[in-house]
């Protein structure tokens, strides 16, 4: 350990605090990266991994704490970070899809200016691709749109590691192998070791623990916006990593009704793309979709919805209701009143000859206002006059007021305060007891533990099914973070 500390700092983030509204994304996190080491960063959803990466690469200004590059405290910003040799490969592909490989290299490397930049960019990328992924077969004059997802990821990695005048000092890789196959992933890991051996540093974020354990010198585990473990990689095993990510103290048993799987499922779907397990839901069940964010849960919900509703023509009787996760994007109608926001999904039920019956609409609104305690003096007030949590309650009421027997929920509790959450949980349990089926994608472990049965997603497929007492944080984490064999 002493040897590591005496090495030169490349980037140091100390005591970083970042809040998004009521959510504390980072709560005093420290991350120091030295020259010539590969640091692995792991943590479950919302642990703050992406936030600390964005703070280091200058895309986000922390509300407290300091960030220094090369031991010098500097002004914060993207250009400062880049000037200090920090490069970042993001989880979602961040190339320009309409440009060629060369042109993307030009955008990433401002120094590729002047006459003949095109061929110099081509040579640069080609050399770097050859070095990382020998025998890649990518044509540098082709448009990114024409490349496969894996090829795009390879290009992005190569462009980030390439340096015209100076090599990058720190390359941050956020899930770099998510669309590479095992052979390419191994090539990348080997290159990371070589790069680190030559004095560069790498921050590696991955859900494949085998990769992290074999490639990193040091592993940092984050949880709830804090660093909970920071030790050399040799002191960790897969098991101890999973344990460090979880929170054993908070295990709490819920009163679960017995197994509700009897009779025919109300909703079923074969395994996605022929991989993993099949999905099925029974009457009155509360089913959780767990796993790391963006591993196919939302897509599954949409597929389930479309399996019963046409994309073209609205069904007369809706069997499925949907509660959107991103309120502002696809949840509320910001200019409408609370009542109109609530009643929009069930207008068909209380309108006669396409004319809305105002009295019945008002009665419905008042009924739900009492039932779920929407905190407003008048349902005719604008929806935006409510707090975020209460807006979300209105969205729940919108779905529950319909005659739909199945309710799909796309991580609806993002940024909702704890009190409101408890109220909504109670309503959900009541409705489930009444025979409604809930399918619930959530990134929060507490919510997953409320469910009767849980499907864990990884790389677009269901990899585990947990029922009853098997639903523990440890089991979910173990299934979401694969060993070395996946990808």
């Amino acid at each position: 350990m002493n040897e590591v500390i005496t090495r030169q700092e490349v980037v140091a983030a100390r005591g970083i605090k970042v809040t998004f509204g009521a959510v504390k994304a980072l709560d005093g996190a420290d991350l120091v990266i030295h020259a010539g080491e590969c640091v692995g960063l792991v943590g479950h959803n919302g642990a703050g991994k992406s936030t600390i990466v964005n703070a280091i690469n200058g895309g986000l200004t922390p509300h407290a704490g300091e960030i220094s590059y090369g031991g010098v405290r500097a002004q914060h910003g993207i250009s400062t970070a880049r000037a200090n040799g920090v490069r970042c490969v993001f989880q979602e592909l961040s190339l320009c899809p309409n440009l060629t490989v060369n042109e993307n290299a030009r955008i990433m490397h401002a120094e590729l200016a002047g006459w003949n930049w095109r061929s110099r960019a081509g040579a640069l990328v080609k050399l770097q691709l050859q070095e990382i992924f020998p025998g890649h077969g990518i044509d540098c004059d082709s448009t990114i749109d024409d490349l496969s997802i894996a090829e795009r990821q390879m290009v992005e990695i190569a462009v980030s590691f390439a340096g015209l005048n100076q090599k990058p000092k720190l390359v941050i890789l956020d899930e770099p192998t998510s669309s590479l196959d095992a052979g390419l992933a191994a090539q990348l890991m080997a290159y990371i070791r070589r790069f680190v051996g030559e004095g560069g540093s790498v921050l590696l974020i991955s859900h494949i623990l085998g990769e992290i354990l074999s490639t990193s010198d040091r592993i940092v585990v984050m949880k709830d916006g804090r660093v909970v473990a920071d030790r050399s990689a040799s002191e960790f095993s897969k098991r101890s990593l999973v344990e460090a990510m979880g929170n054993v103290a908070r295990e709490k048993e819920w009163q679960r009704a017995g197994d509700k799987r009897n009779g025919a499922p109300v909703l079923a779907m074969p395994a996605r793309r022929g991989q993993g397990l099949a999905f099925e839901a029974h009457r009155g069940e509360m089913i959780g979709l767990a796993g790391l964010g963006g591993h196919g849960q939302t897509e599954t919900l949409l597929d389930l919805y479309l399996s019963r509703n046409s994309n073209w023509w609205p069904a007369r009787r809706k069997e499925i209701a949907f509660v959107a996760g991103d309120r502002s994007l696809n949840g509320i109608f910001p200019l409408w009143s609370i009542l109109k926001n609530l009643s929009i999904a069930s207008l068909g039920d209380f309108s006669a000859r396409t004319i809305v019956d105002r009295d019945r609409e008002g009665a419905l609104g008042n009924g739900w206002k009492k039932r779920i305690e929407i905190r407003t003096p008048d349902m005719e007030n604008r929806i935006l006059s409510l707090s975020g949590g209460n807006q979300q309650k209105v969205l729940f009421a919108r779905a529950l007021a319909t005659s739909a027997r199945i309710v799909l929920m796309d991580d609806p509790m993002r940024g909702v305060d704890v009190g409101t959450k408890q109220e909504v949980y109670d309503i959900l349990r009541l409705e489930a007891a009444g025979g409604r089926t809930f399918i619930w994608y959530s990134t929060e472990m507490d919510e997953i533990r409320l469910c009767d049965r849980v499907y864990v997603f990884r790389e677009g497929a269901i990899v585990a099914e947990l029922a009853g007492d098997e639903i523990t944080e440890k089991n979910v984490l173990e299934a979401s973070f694969s060993g070395g064999e996946a990808a």
Partner: protein, 313 residues
């Protein structure tokens, strides 16, 4: 070697232009001459310039609804100030280009929809044009008139000008590194931003460049018509958008093609003549022009779909 997407993108506009041209020649063989071609494509030059300007705006995912009004404004300036006192005329044009850059900055900083801002600006340009020329009139500067009516050997001026416009804009937009940044903003703003570029500067520059091409369009128009009118180019707003789309460009995603845009402008001009040759009454011409547009765009949609199916295989 596989044919790249951008080449496929160019095939349909080029094929539709060739098809229309063949139909025109079939119906009116006398058009197959120096003078005939010049007459057919004469009015395409200002439209091509306006289309290129629109294409630049569309390359950064915006849309300019003031194009027609702005070209009219430029035509009025050309027929009055530029002709009477060239220095003042040039200064006005420089001011107009700066105004375009400012519009770009405002749209970027305030995150306003470009459609709304440019729609508002179209009334400003239109009003200024009416103030300058309340009734049709003015006179073209001698050099603009000379340029647009000169007769180079073998190939008519309209064709030469179109080729020159296509080549220059192709170099600027598709080959130069500035063009890469412009299209990069259309393709993925965040990635350009993360690479440390100032998107606001790129956007301002793009708008200024678009303003420059629109100014050229106004000058070329007056060079052809010899006088101007405050409403002379109002059609250009939609013609330029149609030209970009016809030429293989897209509304979003920074997918544009300068050569395609010029071909699109030529096709649109030719479609008008084609319908006259068919003796379709002017009342129906706009509808028929729309039908041609729909057919070509339908073809493109079909091709895109085939391409997608190929890729998913």
């Amino acid at each position: 070697m596989r044919i790249s997407t951008s080449t496929i993108r160019l095939v349909i506009p080029a094929a539709s232009l060739a098809l229309l041209l063949a139909a025109v020649f079939y119906m009116q063989p006398r058009a197959m001459s120096y003078t005939g071609l010049n007459l057919l494509f004469n009015l395409a030059v200002p439209i091509a310039l306006a289309t290129v300007a629109q294409m630049l705006i569309m390359a950064v995912n915006d849309l300019d609804l003031s194009m027609g009004a702005f070209v009219s404004f430029c035509a009025c300036v050309t027929a009055t100030f530029l002709q009477a006192s060239p220095t003042l005329g040039v200064l006005i044009f420089l001011g107009a280009i700066v105004a375009y850059a400012v519009i770009g900055v405002v749209i970027h900083v305030r995150e306003l929809p470009s459609i709304v801002v440019t729609l508002g600006m179209s009334f400003v340009w239109g009003g200024l044009a009416v103030l300058m020329l309340p009734s049709p009139g003015g006179e073209a500067p001698g050099w603009a008139r000379w340029l647009m009516t000169s007769r180079p050997p073998f190939v008519p001026m309209a064709i030469v000008a179109s080729i020159v416009i296509a080549l220059i804009t192709h170099f600027v937009i598709m080959r130069s590194s500035v063009g890469v940044l412009i299209r990069g903003v259309g393709g993925n703003v965040r990635s350009v931003e993360r690479a440390g570029w100032s998107v606001i500067r790129i956007r301002a520059g793009t708008y200024a460049l678009a303003g420059f091409f629109a100014v050229l369009s106004g000058i070329a128009l007056v060079g052809l018509t010899t006088s101007a009118d405050a409403n002379i180019a109002l059609r250009y707003t939609l013609l330029s958008i149609a030209g970009v789309i016809l030429g293989g460009g897209e509304f979003v995603g920074g997918k544009v093609s300068p050569i395609g845009a010029v071909i699109g402008a030529l096709t649109l001009t030719l479609a008008g003549s084609f319908l006259s040759f068919m003796r379709i009454s002017p009342d129906w011409q706009i509808g028929a022009q729309g039908a041609i547009l729909i057919v070509v765009l339908g073809l493109r949609l079909l091709l895109n779909r085939l391409e997608k199916r190929e890729k998913s295989r």
